[in-house]
Amino acid sequence: MLLPVTIAVLVCASALAVASGIVTARDRRAGTGLLLLAGVTELAVVAQLVAGVVLLTSSSHDVSAALFIAYLVGLVVVVPLAVFWALGEPTRWGPGVLTVAALVVLVLVARLHQLWSGTGA
């Protein structure tokens, strides 16, 4: 399912999960670096949304459109909400929230891929 975009999302979200996990473990608050990484992840996820919608409309793939789009939209809202929630917490738990969000992005992309390839409803 437009492999380059999916790989970009996976790389960004993995990097965000690891980086924010390290920051949490070292008991630091979220800095500019993490926020930039979150921003790049969001860009990749928006690209995934666009790619997903284009693929859905241009091909006659046997996939539930409502479910597929629900996952794409979920993917796009997770990171901004997490950044908003993390910024209010000036302790290690701020980056901890970003770790949760990055893991959720990874799970959603995996589910999206499952939906597209028709394995697992």
Binding site: S64, A66, L67, A70, G74, V78, L81, A82, W85, A86, G88, E89, T91, W93, G94, G96, V97, V100, A101, V104
Partner: protein
């Protein structure tokens, strides 16, 4: 002046939202994810194919409501919210245990999955762990508020 009444606990400014602070932030985040996931699943199930398994889908909707209530209550974190969160976490724990057990025993009532079926195995058993962690955290919050000798 000693007048025989114990000192009342003082509500400090940050005390009011302690449940959603610190590690509580993570808890609220995870609850929000499940609120979103359960709402999405229930909406789809009820709007697209309700007739297939009405009981399971209504339970999905109930789960969604409970996750939403718990998320908001934990995030607010004042005294009333802590009570509301405790009740919703308890219902959630009972729900995941009862639905989890029933889904193994009575396959016909649960032909399609809910967040709670098979003890939340479809969600990495997080639905089973989450209410336990939530209740422990709420106990911690309440203890912190109790008057200290």
């Amino acid at each position: 002046m000693p007048d025989g009444t114990p000192p009342q606990p003082i509500e400090t400014a940050d005390d009011g939202s302690r449940a959603g602070r610190g590690p509580g932030r993570i808890l609220v985040a995870v609850y929000a994810v499940f609120a979103l996931a359960a709402t999405g699943r229930a909406t789809l199930q009820i709007s697209e194919y309700f007739h297939r398994a009405p009981v399971a889908y209504l339970l999905s909707a109930l789960a969604a409501v409970i996750y939403l209530v718990a998320t908001v209550a934990l995030a607010r974190g004042d005294r009333t919210s802590v009570k509301v969160a405790t009740v919703s976490c308890t219902i959630e724990l009972l729900g995941v245990l009862v639905v989890g057990a029933l889904s193994y025993v009575d396959h016909e009532a649960f032909p399609d999955k809910t967040v709670w079926s098979h003890f939340g195995s479809g969600y990495g058993y997080v639905p089973l762990v989450l209410p336990v962690v939530g209740l422990l955290w709420l106990r911690q919050v309440r203890r912190h508020r109790a008057p200290v000798a």
